[in-house]
């Protein structure tokens, strides 16, 4: 899998809303498409995106083939303390790729 891309502010104040934007370049092959040879292209999708902050789950997305190629998710959480946000992508077959970002929260 390609390197996931994650954007969030580097430094915020406690009580701020922290926007999270995560993108992974991935074909999200639906399994419902015919290839050039006329045969069905086998399904290969990212079926889970798990976002956690210091080990606590913030958002877990279970994806179906109806999610667009290059799955993108945007959400927000409340800045309470400094720590690491982790996003783990799991694709069919079990392969995983993860990206982390540290956010410093000023009191």
């Amino acid at each position: 899998m390609e390197r996931p891309r994650l954007r969030l502010p580097e430094r915020v104040r406690a009580g701020d809303v922290v926007p999270v934007r995560a993108l992974l370049m991935h074909p999200m092959e639906s399994g419902l498409r015919l290839g050039p040879d006329g045969g069905r292209v086998p399904r290969r999708i990212v079926y889970r995106i798990a976002c956690s902050f210091e080990g606590e789950p913030l958002l877990v997305m279970d994806l179906e083939p109806g999610i667009a190629a290059n799955p993108y998710v945007e959400f927000a959480f409340l800045a309470r303390r400094s720590g690491t946000l982790t996003v783990v992508y799991t694709e069919d077959g079990g392969a995983e790729t993860a990206v982390e970002a540290f956010i410093e929260v000023e009191a």
Binding site: L32, S52, E56, L58, L59, E64, A68, A69, V73
Partner: protein, 173 residues
């Protein structure tokens, strides 16, 4: 996508999501929202309606469905069904905080798009992603609150798919 907001819950009659109601209401919505474009849409097969209704039933588990408290934002017209932005929002906090969201595309070959489990983010729900649409249809978001209520919102999206006529806006060139 700013400016493409569509607060569908205002346009929808409170729904009980009873099996069999889905198709006619969606049909009504199309006519109401899209006018002449709706006439060009192929009818929904009975099997597709059943798949959708069973998805709804699975999520609601017999609980009543509220048509307020949840918004689904999407462009009313999508140039292409390959990647359509959608945003689910809810102002609910405390017991009304959204803990789970399911996105459904009734007229896709696979009705279920995604299920999102929301942890303690500390802020009201605002979730954006991008979906595939096989054709024009009304996308449905279902949500479950911490207090166990089920919310529903819809957004009608006309998919141009290469221009099913020039009655829909199409960029020149």
């Amino acid at each position: 996508m700013r400016g493409y907001r569509l607060c569908v819950s205002r346009l929808v009659r409170p729904s009980t999501a009873a099996p069999g109601h889905g198709q006619s209401r969606r049909h009504f919505l199309r006519l109401a929202l899209l006018g002449p474009a709706a006439a060009a849409w192929p009818g929904v097969s009975l099997a597709a309606t059943e798949r959708f209704d069973s998805e709804v039933a699975l999520f609601t588990a017999g609980r009543p469905v509220r048509a307020d408290g949840l918004n689904l934002e999407a462009p009313p017209v999508a140039e292409s069904g390959y990647s359509v932005p959608v945003t689910v929002t809810s102002a609910g906090t405390g017991p009304d905080r959204v803990v789970r969201v399911r996105l459904l595309a009734p007229d896709n070959p696979l009705v279920r798009l995604a299920t999102v489990t929301v942890g303690d983010t500390g802020v009201p729900l605002r979730l954006s992603t991008r979906i595939r649409l096989a054709r024009s249809q009304t996308v449905v978001a279902l949500a479950e609150t911490a207090g166990g209520q089920v919310l529903r919102a819809e957004a009608a999206i006309a998919v141009v798919v290469g221009g099913c006529g020039f009655d829909l806006p199409l960029e020149p060139g």
